[in-house]
Structures are given as structure tokens and as C-alpha cells.
């Protein structure tokens, strides 16, 4: 079958490639909804090092996607089954390296084609079925799974006093981390620190919010999530190290293209643990889908979503990336190409 693949060839220039996919190898999934990640936007705008761009492009973007199975000769899924697509394709199982950190793994829209295709051929074990969840929510399963992964790792490594958790950032990543925290660590008091009052006001289910320039001197917490990224990563990490209690754990989640200075003196004095957390694995997806069974979680996630008009032609792809630049949180869209 001839498949249409919509690849970013160079910044803001998308080309259509055609590939012949075999129905007999993998499951074939028709994408239904997609969501734009900052990483996709950075590729689209060319906001990456030129060496990286020339190494990775041409490449189809998008790794947040839900769809419908149109064929699966493995017999795992019936035709018509709604599924979420796991963008991580592990090379081989490992006893101690998680699939999302295995350097041999492939990751859609990072080192292999993302999901901007007419059909996605994908191993059946990289699909998880869902029912009774609207596609506008299911499409966020990858995003929520990244938060689930980070909260799960914190639960595994942090000391057991988890009364107060601080989340730095007021964007969509901070929001989903708070969503996951609220469900997975319901007893913890969540404080969100951001720069934008309007965005902070969305965190209605956090116990407290602060502007980053008005933190009380006696503000302390047990553990923290850094969800800032970009040029303000350093500032956020500086504040976290300043206010966190000794032996706290800091989950670093924000991506920065620049090197970030770290106050090692205070970090050593407090005996802090810094853990990098990125992407997610199949178990995290399963947990995320499980959380989405709750109407409360779905409503919370729904409040940070802007649904743009469906993508029905090549020009619409440019439109959704443009829309995403002007929406404060997540841009999703129906895929009709």
C-alpha cells in the first residue's frame, strides 16, 4: 500500500514522501488526533543546532498521537480498535536501562519518522488500547505518561517525607506533572512557581501558587520538579536549590539548548539528588491511560488544550504549527490527511 509521509525537510518546509508499506509486517494505524510538543515546534522553526537539523531531517514530526487500527495481522488488535501510539521503539530489553533511556531505542520525531503520516506501521506491542476516552484526551496520553514517569521515578528514589512538593514552571509540562502528582501522590501539598499569573491561575488543584519573584524567604519543600526549560532553566534550578530542604530530590524535566550553571556548593551542602527525567515507557503509558479513566483527570487535561481545526491538506500543517505559537498550552488537532 502506498503511504503518504509528511516530512519536515528544512525549517518550515514540509514535503510529501511516498512509501510502500506492507500490511503483513506491523500493525497499521490510522492517526486520529495529534498534539504538538515543544520538541516538534523547535524542529519546525529550526530552533536547533544546524548540525542536529542536518543530521535528523528530513523527518516526519509529531510523537503524541492516538489512532485507530486498520489492520493487524499479529491478531493482537481488531480492526477499529482505538489505540495510543508509543513513540519509543526499544532495540532490546534490558534489566537495568529503561526503554526510554536506551541509546539504541528509536523515538518517533527524534531519530526516526514521527506520526505525521497517512498511516503508521508500528509493532503491535507499541500500541495500547483505550475505550471510553475521547480522542481529544487520549492524544495527551504521551504527555501525561512523561509526567507519570517522572513522578514514578521520584517515588522510587526520593526519601519518604513527601509532604510538600514544589513544581517550577507554569506551562503545560508543569500542569500535567501536577495532574499526575495529584493522583499518584494525593497526600502531598503541591506548590507551583511560575512567571505568569494568568497561567498560574489554571492550577486550581494545586495548594498554593507563587510568582517566582515573590517567594517567601521561609518557603521550603521536600522535593521538586523543574518544568521550566529554555533560557530560564538556570534561574529555576538556582531557586530550587536555594529553597529545597536537605536531601531533597529534584526531577529535572525542562529542556535547554544551552548549558546551565548549577550552584554545586549548596547542592553538596544539602546532599541533594538531581534526576533527569525524559520521555516515558509502555508502563507509564498504561498508568496514564488508567488515570484518564477518571472524569476529573480528563477535565483537568481538557482545560489546557486548544483544539485547532482539522488538518486536511499540507497548508493546514503549517497552520497548526503557527497556531501552537500563539496558544499558552497544548495544541491538538484532528488528522484528516
Amino acid at each position: 500500500m502506498i503511504n503518504y509521509v509528511y516530512r519536515l525537510v528544512s525549517p518550515q518546509f514540509i514535503s510529501i514522501d511516498y512509501s510502500n508499506i506492507n500490511v503483513s509486517n506491523n500493525a497499521i494505524v490510522r492517526p486520529l488526533y495529534m498534539s504538538i510538543c515543544h520538541a516538534d515546534q523547535r524542529y519546525f522553526l529550526g530552533a536547533r543546532n544546524s548540525d542536529i537539523l542536518s543530521e535528523k531531517l528530513p523527518m516526519a514530526l509529531i510523537h503524541e498521537c492516538c489512532g485507530e487500527v486498520v489492520a493487524d495481522r499479529s491478531g493482537t488488535f481488531k480492526r477499529g480498535q482505538k489505540v495510543v501510539l508509543i513513540p519509543n521503539i526499544p532495540a532490546k530489553p534490558s534489566d537495568y536501562i529503561l526503554e526510554n533511556y536506551d541509546e539504541c531505542s528509536h523515538f518517533a520525531s527524534s531519530n526516526c519518522d514521527g506520526f505525521m503520516r497517512e498511516f503508521v506501521d508500528i509493532p503491535a506491542d507499541r500500541l495500547l488500547p483505550y475505550d471510553k476516552i475521547p480522542p481529544q484526551n487520549a492524544v495527551l496520553s504521551e504527555y501525561l505518561s512523561v509526567a507519570v514517569h517522572s513522578v514514578t521515578r521520584l517515588s522510587k528514589y526520593a526519601h519518604e517525607c513527601r509532604d510538600n512538593i514544589a513544581v517550577w514552571g507554569d506551562g503545560s509540562l508543569a500542569y500535567v506533572v501536577c495532574c499526575a502528582l495529584r493522583e499518584l501522590m494525593p497526600k502531598a501539598k503541591i506548590t507551583v512557581i511560575g512567571k505568569n499569573l494568568r497561567k498560574l491561575s489554571r492550577f486550581s488543584f494545586a495548594h498554593k501558587t507563587y510568582l517566582n519573584n515573590s517567594l517567601p524567604k521561609n518557603f521550603h519543600f521536600d522535593h521538586a520538579f523543574e518544568c521550566v526549560g529554555g533560557e530560564f532553566s538556570g534561574e529555576a534550578i538556582e531557586d530550587i536549590i536555594k529553597h529545597i530542604k536537605p536531601q531533597g530530590t529534584v526531577m529535572l524535566m525542562g529542556v535547554s539548548e544551552n548549558k546551565i550553571p548549577v550552584n554545586t556548593r549548596q547542592l553538596l551542602e544539602k546532599g541533594l539528588m538531581l534526576i533527569g527525567s525524559s520521555r516515558s515507557g509502555k508502563e507509564d503509558f498504561a498508568t496514564a491511560l488508567n488515570l484518564m479513566q477518571s472524569v476529573r483527570v480528563r477535565r483537568r487535561l481538557g482545560s489546557i488544550v486548544y483544539e485547532d481545526a482539522p488538518v486536511r491538506c499540507l497548508d493546514d500543517i503549517y497552520r497548526v504549527f503557527s497556531t501552537d505559537l500563539n496558544t499558552p498550552f497544548k495544541t491538538i488537532f484532528e488528522w484528516k490527511l
Partner: protein, 238 residues
Amino acid sequence: MIFGAVLAGGFGTRMHISSMPKQFLPLDDKPIIIHTIEKMLTCSKFDAVFVGINPTWASYMNDLLDNYDLSEENIKVVIGGENRNDTIFNIIAGIEEEYGENDENIIVTHDAVRPFVTLRIIEDNIEAALKYGACDTVVPATDTIVVSHKNDIISDIPNRIYMYQGQTPQSFNIKKLKELYARLSDSQKLVLTDACNIFVMNNEEVKLVQGEVSNIKITTVNDYNIAQYLATGGAESD
């Protein structure tokens, strides 16, 4: 009910490169018609997909379906007719023999030699046929259309903004298609090269569905070369 109809009645006389009908020529690793049928099968709205085939090649077609593990799918092979419309009506006869007549039945007819059709085009066809009773897949004409009645001197150059190039699928409410065809005179039927014309000749509206420039019809050797290039990794950019 909604039926797909893959039209493969031709002999491929325009290819001049093979005695085999063009729909059976390989495109990358499989015959063109298999690519087309596989794409039609991705549409979950179809109750069945019919293939209208020249009688000489019917058993060959069945062998292909076996070879590509498609014989279990809901595909019916019927014998095509003398021309395009005969093939469509033979398929309709096959549909009604197996599923009976129903005023709401829709048929989505598609050239076997257009393997670059997309699911979006197929689904838009179904939606338009259900809503309007008939639709045609088109792309705006990019070349200027020149009319010559004597094949020698220009008779007219129509304004290009009103010109479109017809592709397939073409989709119809079966009952309406049959009724309108029955109203045509024998001389009108003789000049029909296109099923949508059955509606147009009866002053019935046919909705336009946006096609894709890439939804090419593999008719000539040049088309075939382009299709091979695209299917094996060539790129098109807009």
C-alpha cells in the same frame, strides 16, 4: 450499505510495454492493483469491496488476492464489462445479487490504476455521496485547457478558473445512478466515457471532492516511471 468498486476491466493498450493489463504491473514490490485494493480496505466504512476485472484475468486476480493474503478480506471479484460504465453496472449487479437492493446504498468507484489515492479522499467521497447523491474527485487544472473540435485549430480556450481535472473515486447513490442511466438514450450512452456524466446529462448535481495532484492515473509509460519513482522514495513538495 457502502461498497467500494475497483475498476480493472481494461487491457492496458496504451502502455505498449506489456501484454499484461497495466493494473497488474509491479509498483515497487507488488502489483499496482494490490496497492489500490489495500488502500480501499483501510476504509472501515465499506461493507465490501468489489473488483471488476476482465474475464481473461479473473483467475489471475484471484491468485493475486491469495498471494497477498487478501482472500480472507471482504473482497468480491466480478467480471467487468465492455467499457467503464458496463463494469460499474456489472459490479452493481453483483452487489445487489449478494446484498439486495436498498435505496440508500452507495458505491465508491475507483480506477485500479490510481494506487496513490488517500483514505481522506475515499472518506470525503463517501460523505459527499451520502449527502448529495453523487460526487467526483477533482483537482484544479494547472495547464490551460484548449478545445479543438476539428483536432486541428483551436475552437475555444475556456477560463482556467472553471477548469478541473477529473480523477477518481467517483461515488454515487446506486438507485439514483441506475434510474438516471435508464433515462439516457442509446446514443447518449454511446458517448459516455465517465459515470458522472450520467448525472450531468440528466441535469443532476454532482458534488466536487478535492483530490490530490499525486493521485495519478498510471496510463502511459511515463506515468508508470513517475509512479515507480514516487513509490520507491521519491519526493514531491508543494
